[in-house]
């Protein structure tokens, strides 16, 4: 058994393998993980919107030992990651860290937001630092406006940043 504590280091090896196959292979994998994650989050979003997202990411915060703040108002849901354990472990690793490790988050979350009619704005800030800001909007125009203020905007399968 690869311990769940070491999943991110396994994930890191999968990304390196897939990148060597091609960009479409990575996108295919992100979509597969996104489909897997639907089991955990889709119903929550469809039934409770931002409150459902809050519930899902509260569990993630606790179980994955994240240092993050969560909140939402009428317009948007916001997750502000101060110390991401996933990237931290991928970097605290005797194997080489995949340089685009952070891409996987928007890679699986984006397709779920597309499917549920929300608009994701994912600012990784710096792929080498375990911090990011994720905002999810009800209104597409407000999301496009928010994209103007990000440091490093992430895309996902079907929506690459311009």
């Amino acid at each position: 058994m690869i311990p769940s504590d070491h999943f991110t280091r396994f994930y890191n090896e999968v990304f390196k393998f897939l990148e060597a196959q091609g960009e479409a292979d990575l996108d295919g994998y992100f979509l597969e993980i996104s489909k897997n994650q639907e089991k955990h989050i889709l119903e929550l979003i469809r039934e409770s919107g931002f409150a459902g997202m809050y519930k899902y990411w509260s569990v993630i915060r606790d179980e994955e030992n994240c240092e993050l703040d969560l909140g939402y108002d009428d317009d948007k849901f916001e997750l502000r990651m101060h110390l991401c354990p996933s990237l931290t472990k991928a970097k605290d690793n005797d194997a080489k860290t995949w340089g685009r490790y952070c891409d996987h988050c928007a890679g699986w979350i984006g397709p779920i937001m597309d499917k549920t009619g929300y608009h994701l704005v994912y600012d990784v800030i710096d792929r080498d630092k375990p911090q990011c800001v994720m905002r999810i909007f009800k209104d597409g125009d407000k999301a496009r406006e928010a994209e103007k203020d990000v440091a490093l905007l992430m895309g996902w399968p079907g929506r690459k940043p311009t």
């Binding site: 058994m1 690869i2 311990p3 769940s4 504590d5 070491h6 999943f7 280091r9 396994f10 994930y11 890191n12 090896e13 999968v14 390196k16 393998f17 196959q21 292979d25 295919g28 994998y29 597969e32 993980i33 489909k35 897997n36 089991k39 955990h40 993630i60 606790d62 179980e63 994955e64 030992n65 472990k89 605290d92 690793n93 005797d94 194997a95 080489k96």
Partner: protein
């Protein structure tokens, strides 16, 4: 008085997120369907040789006990039903209920036929070229026996 043991290279604490095992199962199915079992094993081999470089270094240096420490720490964290027996000849890990396998079975309703390859191949890759072998036998659904022995 004995010296306190140095911390292991990876020694996580805090909470555990068992749903990661579900993502492992999904990944295994995806890789096998698209690239075949050899590709899956190539990835697991990398985990054994590169991610677990430190465990492998202990084996190369003639120390098989670091892996027993690793097993003890992480199987306790996962809440598995297991025991580890250490003799002069071998170290035997008996897993009666693997948390990973049973969690996947619970959330997905089925477990990939290659799910336990993660254990078999990572063990084999860690031990390759060292004075030890690690043999893994799957003894039932979510159960296995892993044995470290000095090679003849």
């Amino acid at each position: 008085m004995s010296e306190p043991e140095a911390p292991m290279r990876y020694q996580e604490d805090g909470n555990v997120h068992l749903d990661f095992h579900g993502a492992v199962n999904t990944t295994i199915a995806f890789i096998v369907a698209r690239y075949g079992i050899d590709a899956l094993h190539q990835i697991f081999r990398r985990v054994g040789t590169d991610v677990y470089q430190d465990l492998r270094a202990h084996l190369l240096a003639g120390d098989s006990h670091e892996i027993a420490r690793h097993w003890q720490h992480f199987f306790v964290r996962e809440g598995a039903d297991f025991d580890i027996a250490v003799t002069d000849e071998e170290i035997v890990l008996t897993v009666r209920r693997c948390t990973a396998w049973h969690h996947v079975n619970k959330i997905h309703g089925a477990v990939s036929a290659q799910f336990c390859d993660q254990t078999v191949v990572v063990n084999s890759a860690m031990a390759e070229g060292t004075p030890f072998s690690i043999e893994t036998s799957i003894t039932g659904p979510g159960a296995c026996r892993q044995v470290i022995r000095r090679r003849a």
